[in-house]
Symmetry: C2
Subunit: 407 residues, 2 copies
């Protein structure tokens, strides 16, 4: 008999049919002898709808009121899921974040969990009931409702799994696991049976949207076993695990493309200490989210600095940079909104220095120009033209034999 | 400087424009020096929408889960109203029923308030903030979310006004007060400046839908001054008050028609003790909500029993009655779905026995047949044919000179 925390995202509970499918699965798992705790997000696009009406009602609502508002979505979802489970003859009880014992700090919109006092959830399990916990919410020491932010339901699930000493935390999504690359782009993409925490974090950082990075970090830190799987096909998905001895067999485990960023180049920057620092201090003050930074080798006392930012931050980044060049004596600010960041990720590359060379060769052979490069211990990312993204992913996936490897 | 509890129903906060109108009014009243506490219902038809999806998800959801579900509607509304008030530059804070200190019993769907520990609301007022409290909700001793039932927001407002020692409780609706009769039916209907608690209760019992009877009873018991008024025109409405010395000047203060009921007649009932008792015990067991009961004078050892029930209860009432006639030897069960109950109400009739006679004469003169009669100390109700309802209301309103009286 296993104790499992299962998290269902918005698309998994988007309507009455989906909610009944989740409830039926719970009933089945219970018959098989497992103890189940659910964590549920707001239905479908409900959170977006709530944000839209808030914008209609008030220009800049306070964090406290936004949190009271958006957490109503999860509250509705947990009640509906609990009654659906009862409809299958299994006792169930819904809990708000506060009722489930999630004590957080008072940082509204993006609260941090301080403590999970899971006594009520434990008591519900012991009484034979299925607890259904509202994701991404808690209560502050001031007894105000708090929201953990987008993707916070993953964090709720992982924290609850840790507090309960659960055997595993299953994150149900609309895909059936973690793939070697996007199966919509490359038909030979393969689902991985397992992936390391570090690889999962690099994939999240590289633009792979699920699961939320914060929850993976938390699971990594507390040794919670994560299982990313589908609420549509219900087949076994991908386990996220500590690195094992056999993990380095494959050099590369996935290829990820991220189209969410734009590139800014500040050209002709005087090559003296502090100029770059001032630029990035200005960008930070303006809350521009800078990702990659590349500074070209200096020639003749001037240098070019390029960096990437989310599309939405591009206008601010450009205007901040233009103000700065006036002060620093740089010559121009150029921007490119049509780029892609293509990354290859794998714990195996740590002990194999040839991966970067292979990646660059493969791109060059396919006449894909590399504009920027950045690396970590287990990831290499290249910025290329947006229109070459699908082609780059396809040729890299094949070159690293991901279509022929069993993970 | 007055301390006012203002309650806004669903139509008053149905969309972003309405919410901003409520917020603007709060800002205005604050500028005039009043302290304001708001109680808010779920937006528009949201509660109905939640009930509909619950029915899709599960056949007979438990009370606990239904309460968790429906209270999400008020939670969303209070957050939006609070942020709209902040948008007008006035500090505001939303509170769930639990946060506002509403301790209730554990009767889900229809919980009773046990205690209002309004310290947090008092502290918010003292800090210069406008508390916005979710209507119709509380928390049980088991820390479960509870719902006070339909119309429960009125009760929340009155109970909060009592707990805070507020100067008045303003119940905002979509009409501008309590009228001598339905202004849609009789164009000469007049808005009353004040009405007694007893009259208000009789009007509610006679089918006038607002405010909720339970809240009027509570206000009466605890001496809370009620003001029923419009959130659309904002003009002064009708005060609900203790009976004053001048209250008996007018015999009749209002004429109300109720089209929500149907009539059942059990004919040829043997006239012996206990037969009627058995019938109404059966109806109570089947949860049929019986309103008026009339038993005709017995002739030749048999009698007819007529009673009214809500339209929705009619099929059950007929089948229960048919089972009972088989056992009791009655001859037939007749039902009529096209009736109206017309009532005249006024504290003044207590000391004037001629009111009933006048009512019957007026109806007879207008060839409106009376099928059933029931009376209380300050109300006389007649069941007539549904198609005669508007005509009956018009001629009674005129006969009792309500179109010429100032209240």
């Amino acid at each position: 008999m296993a104790l499992l925390v299962q998290k269902f995202g918005g698309t998994s509970v988007a309507d009455a049919d989906r909610i009944r499918a989740v409830a039926e699965q719970v009933a089945r798992r219970r018959r098989q002898g497992d103890q189940i705790v659910l964590v549920v997000s707001a239905m479908g696009k409900e959170t977006d709808d709530l944000l839209r009406i808030a914008a209609e009602v008030a220009g800049e609502p306070s964090g406290r009121e936004m949190d009271m508002l958006v957490t109503a979505g999860e509250r509705k979802a947990v009640a509906l899921v609990a009654m659906a489970i009862e409809g299958f003859g299994v006792p169930a009880q819904s809990f708000t974040g506060s009722q489930a014992g999630f004590l957080t700090d008072g940082t509204h919109r993006n609260a941090r969990i301080l403590e999970v006092g899971a006594e009520r959830i434990r008591a519900a399990i012991d009484s034979g009931s299925v607890p259904v916990v509202a994701g991404a919410q808690g209560v502050s020491a001031e007894k105000d409702v708090t929201f953990l932010g987008r993707g916070g339901s993953d964090t709720t699930a992982v924290a609850l799994a840790e507090a309960l000493g659960a055997d595993a935390c299953e994150l149900y999504t609309d895909v059936s696991g973690v793939f070697t690359t996007d199966p919509r782009v490359v038909s030979t993409a393969r689902r991985m049976h397992s992936i390391t925490f570090d690889e999962m974090l690099e994939m999240a950082a590289a633009g792979c949207p699920k699961p939320a990075m914060r929850s993976v970090e938390f699971a990594h830190r507390h040794g919670v076993r994560l299982h990313v799987r589908s609420a549509f096909t219900w087949e076994p998905g991908t386990w996220v695990v500590e690195e094992g001895p056999d993990m380095e067999a494959a050099l590369i485990r996935s290829v990820v493309a991220d189209l969410s960023e734009a590139k800014v180049t500040v050209a002709g920057v005087p090559d003296r200490p502090g100029v770059a620092a001032q630029l990035f201090r200005d960008l930070a003050t303006a809350e521009v989210n800078v990702d990659m930074i590349v500074q070209n080798v200096s020639a003749a006392g001037v240098t070019d600095i390029s960096f990437t930012v989310p599309h939405t931050d591009l206008p601010t980044a450009v205007s901040v940079s233009e103000k700065r060049i006036a002060a620093s004596g740089a010559t121009a600010v150029l921007s490119d909104d049509s780029i892609a960041k293509v990354s290859v990720i794998g714990a195996g590359m740590k002990s194999n220095p040839g991966v970067a060379a292979t990646m660059f060769e493969v791109l060059a052979r396919n006449e894909i120009n590399i504009e920027m490069i950045s690396t970590s211990a287990i990831r290499i990312s290249c910025v290329i033209a947006e229109e070459a993204a699908d082609r780059a992913v396809t040729v890299l996936h094949e070159a690293f034999e991901l279509d022929r490897t069993t993970f």
